[in-house]
Subunit: 289 residues, 2 copies
């Protein structure tokens, strides 16, 4: 337990991106720097977290019903096959789905493009008491347009500050953001793409554009390094999550969420009525005769 | 297995509301007319359904990604404490949360009231490939306004047809609706309200207005009988789900969802690319050098 407690307290420090910069090439996507070192250990640990996560989520939800403004938003970014969907399935799947707000951001539609890039994001910020999961996010807007030169450099560079301002605004309104970059190696991506193409039930997950994007691997890594560096203020840092091992990735994101919720210490709201009076009204003067 | 198969096939027939009318007073909320007769049996059965439900949900989701238009919407209605939230937790909780669209409709806001009653509902219809769960719905608009005389009788009466038209329109666009009325007894409601008032962690679920509504039990039962009768066309009937026993209620709703999905037979979309060509491109001419 002492060991566990120790690694649990340090995971955020170990994976946190420091605002002075990050070099993704130096982070091993297959590493397990803290926490479990085997799949079986990770799965046992994840299952053990479920009850506490579920309880904290209920408290947060109840707090929201009672007028509280706090909520959590988990932002997932990563190259194709890094496991954004899988993380949602395994981590969000641990709590009551009624308290979740899950959004998958696709290529912007024509209508979305007619607004500023944060417009569609703002509409999907989770409500009070909710836990949101974003599968891709506003960070796509400093990735694709940059790599594919869809906007001038000055335009995507300006977005870093716009994003920091937006996230500060969210924080002020009660949203705690947990930003997870699912870091995989190009070798692991290749394995997973091959698996998709060789498995009939997985063909739907593949898109020929995946290879177009794969060809630009280094440009994307550079774009990721920059956004992680530019958008990691102390109040809302990115975490670089080694994601070559699915079990480790799931464990890490669950831990980051768990620790965030623990810090918030959400509590059941005080009733705005007198429970004893209601109880006697119900028992001694049941309005239903 | 023969026994199971038999009851599985008849549950919809047994619980379906017939358009010639329903008398709720004659339906025992504690009955278990088909299926499991004990909590342990029901829980085992529910767990056994999980894998198939999960698989069908993935197929439906994949179909949606591939351009399919089909989706499912489970509508839950019932008196306070009938277990709308609990049903979502236990039934929706069986599948991947990324494929769910869960909405809890509260008392309409001023903005919502400035539109027609279906406006806020239309905005929340699940997207293609999704499974939606409505905790309350447009049916509230033939309940509260009627019982509390907020609109003239002609207005709420006209809504039955408006609702039938709306649901026919949804069906045409690919939505299969599963409407579940969670039927409880006033005695069981009293027990559950008492439990909420006596348990500190449950106080947030109680609202003094619950007793105001409880006092109008028979008016609400009449309003429910009427809407169940008026809005049960063969294509989208209501099911009256005996809900005094939580384990039976969960089992029934899971079964109704499972059978609906089985009927739909959702399938993985055909790839719109050549998997073999992509595979050789990836393996022999990996764009990432």
């Amino acid at each position: 337990m002492a060991k566990k407690s120790a690694h649990v307290h340090s995971i955020r420090d170990v994976l946190k991106v420091h605002p002075d910069g990050v070099d993704l090439a130096k982070i091993d996507p297959a590493a397990t720097p803290v926490g479990p070192t085997s799949k079986s250990e990770a799965e046992k640990d994840l299952a053990a977290m479920a009850e506490e996560l579920d309880q904290l989520q209920e408290n947060l939800y109840a707090e929201g019903i009672g007028g509280g403004r706090r909520r959590v938003l988990v932002v997932l970014q990563g190259m194709d096959t890094s496991g954004k969907g899988g993380t949602i399935r395994h981590v969000a799947g641990l709590v009551n789905p009624q308290g979740l707000h899950i959004v998958s951001f696709k290529k912007p539609t024509r209508a979305e493009l007619s607004h500023d890039f944060l417009w569609r994001i703002r509409r999907q910020v989770p409500g009070p008491g909710m836990i949101g999961f974003f599968d891709r996010s506003h960070y796509e807007d400093v990735l694709v347009p940059r790599v594919d030169k869809l906007v001038p450099p000055a335009a995507w560079r300006a977005r870093y500050q716009q994003i920091n301002d937006f996230e500060a605004e969210l924080a002020e309104a009660g949203t705690t953001i947990v930003k997870c970059f699912l870091h995989i190696s190009p070798e692991r991506q290749k394995e997973r793409l091959v698996a998709r193409l060789e498995t009939p039930e997985k063909l739907w997950k593949y898109n020929p554009n995946d290879l177009v994007v794969r060809a630009k691997w280094s440009q994307y890594q550079q774009a990721y390094s920059d956004l992680l560096t530019q958008c990691s203020p102390e109040s809302a840092p990115w975490y670089a999550v080694p994601s070559d091992r699915k079990w480790y990735r799931n464990w890490v994101v669950a831990q980051l969420l768990l620790q965030t919720l623990r810090d918030l210490k959400p509590t059941y709201p005080e009733p705005d009525y007198d429970p004893a009076a209601e109880l006697s009204r119900l028992i001694e003067a049941d309005p239903l005769r």
